[in-house]
Point group: C2
Chain length 496, copies 2
Amino acid sequence: MTPDTTRFEEAERDPDISKEQARPLITELRSELLKAQYARLENPQRSLLIVVAGIDGAGKGATVNLIHEWMDSRHIRTLAFGPPTDEETRFPLFWRYWKHLPAKGRTGIVFGSWYAPLMQLLSEKPPKQADIERLAASIRDFEALISRDGVQVLKLWYHLSRDAQKRRIAKLESDPDTAWMVQPQDHLVARSFKRIREAAAHMLALTDTPQAPWTVIPSADDRMRNVATGQAILSALREPMPSAARLGTPARPALPRGGRRPLSRVDYSASLSENEYDDQLAHWRGRLARQVRSKAFARQQLVLLFEGNDAAGKGSTIRRITHALDARQFCAVPISAPTDEERARPYLWRFWRALPAPGNITIFDRSWYGRVLVERVERFAKPAEWQRAYEEINQFEQQLAENNILLIKFWLAITKDVQLERFRARERSPFKSFKITEEDWRNRAKWSAYTRAANDMIDLTSTRHAPWHVVSANDKRHARITVLETVVKALDERLA
Amino acid sequence: MTPDTTRFEEAERDPDISKEQARPLITELRSELLKAQYARLENPQRSLLIVVAGIDGAGKGATVNLIHEWMDSRHIRTLAFGPPTDEETRFPLFWRYWKHLPAKGRTGIVFGSWYAPLMQLLSEKPPKQADIERLAASIRDFEALISRDGVQVLKLWYHLSRDAQKRRIAKLESDPDTAWMVQPQDHLVARSFKRIREAAAHMLALTDTPQAPWTVIPSADDRMRNVATGQAILSALREPMPSAARLGTPARPALPRGGRRPLSRVDYSASLSENEYDDQLAHWRGRLARQVRSKAFARQQLVLLFEGNDAAGKGSTIRRITHALDARQFCAVPISAPTDEERARPYLWRFWRALPAPGNITIFDRSWYGRVLVERVERFAKPAEWQRAYEEINQFEQQLAENNILLIKFWLAITKDVQLERFRARERSPFKSFKITEEDWRNRAKWSAYTRAANDMIDLTSTRHAPWHVVSANDKRHARITVLETVVKALDERLA
């Protein structure tokens, strides 16, 4: 297949611009860029993420340095990524990019983005078509997700003709003061210009989307390249907040169907005697303790996630697990209202940051499912936001699965009358009364809305790689043992 | 030298407490702990950092788990550290502890603290006295510093008699359900009880300070251990904010002496012609570019720090350096008003977090010296705070030096008339006017106060391992070249 390279034609004509033409343009650009940047900072609805890619030797680095001079560099962060480190290879491709997303109002410039592995794949002969399609799709999903959630993505491809590229490299090399700027790969690129050009055309075609389009920057002439970059950034900064339609809906929008009610199938009568419980607890906890200290576990990443009705006993269940763990290998993350830093970024950001390293365990006490539970019921999220979250969450969890990160999700279910008993008991207890607030009573008044949200959630996000374990918790002993047993068996299977 | 072990005597009597005695105590403790915890959260002046150490097999882990049940565990974070990872060994000992300091109002529990290496040293035969003294002193300095700046330190040593320890281990091992709790080192400890006991006594004596005292927790009996732990935490939480006197002053208080005025010795006439500048810039930038791409640099950590008068040209000087660097290897950190997360922690926290990994460079545009410059002049810091900061900063920088982290500090100096010219030029410039605000004019009105502060700072923090480079910046070309040359020469010496 010969990719369409027409969008490179203009850049390969190597347009230039004279000093006299450039001067007024640049003066105007600089003051407009600053105005636009400050307007964003004053009303921080979105961040701007500039992806810089292109033919080697096109002068990308010099231009980005110039952008720092033209704008107020205190609010711009350059994020440069090399080949993944050992640690980074243990996480999904997008992990390191997620971790460094700029806060709303601010600008990030990415070198060595997620397009590096795609270019790599596209340059191989013969091309692995399935891998290419899969990676391109996951890139589109990633960009769509962050675009919808407050990150504007501007993608720049720096391009020039083969002859111009050769001339640029030769010129840099001939001067001892700039020879160091020429890297060995620049020569490789010169030799394989045609192949890279085709791969790039293919890549642009695969990943040009309405919410994250590519802009080709003519790069043979320094002034032209600088002005074109400044103009692209300016028009991105000036762009008003896009409508929901322009941002697109997820590929497979998942709207609650309302029909299925998985929680109605729970057997709330399950229980354990105190003696049985003590035996089982010692047994499963002992097995878990040995598993997490095994050699095989040193390479495993484990995420445990707990959701459930208020007063279902999430905290005490989690403690039965952590008692078996080495304190150095787990991190329990209670999820409450987001901090300022978290609010300034897409809602999944705080969870990406907390993923465990190999041999480690992250335990979420409440989780990203808040988006389709409390945020839906309390209307903190707009309908479009929580409705598309099912698909976004499924994609997130699929990335974990593809990277061998084991995720086990629990919904601890109690009945309305048991919740009432526990609320009352808590109020009477001198050291549990802090656990019961006005808010709990308000939430309880919305019992049916929360139940509907939980039913939809379990229905729409029970996937093969991350099924929900719905556990009756009317009897706490039963719930704790069921959770421990589920974790141990899942680990047995994984570590076998 | 036989250390004084009398403070272990009470714990080695292995006191216990009956179920009947414990019940009312625990009921009372739990509700008081919660009250105290909430009082702290409502008025977050300090965080509480609980250091957990003691004889192995004393049941430290079980007690900490219990603390999570007794208090509101959402506001407690257990921080468990193992032997330093490869990455961690490249940083000062306290780096990883700094990074995880809890925010004001919250509680952190540290396992595997800075006392692990001290116990290690103290257990060696023959003891390396100088190393022991040095480490103990740096621990006292660290605890004093964070105590003075909003972190309350509570240190618990779990202790029991040799016989009781043997019994505890045998009991755990005899039960297949708890055998996993016994680690190989527990047996080692049993064999070397006497040696460890002496090392511990020595350690407590060396590091028992008014602001961070040790509490010995009798640990033979579970209930006794739990109650004693709860009581220790409760009395720490109830302790009022200590007076400055109780927190102690730095070992060597550094008060500005007012006599020396290093800035008066600057030759402001130094300048470079445009031609000279171009030649020199290409030369030094080329050398820097080769240095940072060399094999030797891959193991080096480099910190560049820029302070100076407003409009002295810090930003443009920094850019002359970054132009020579690979964008993947440096991070430029502009320091402005701290974020909420930063304000909730000691002022040095944000800088510890930003230290570079090997092969990397952090460039601070303004820095920790804000404490003795803007915070002093604008009275954001109390006199006691900025006065002790000189010594705190010297200790911080010494830790960098001891870990082979190269720090180069620049003060860019301009005269008052040149500042005025530049302010006016900025106001006239369409794309620099954002750089000049009312605040700049206000600061300028305090020129002599800032000059006094800068003189004191340079005088009191120019150390052998981290001298100040005061650079005349009335001529920007001269300043840029001087800075580049200084960096290159320092690197040459370091990488040789």
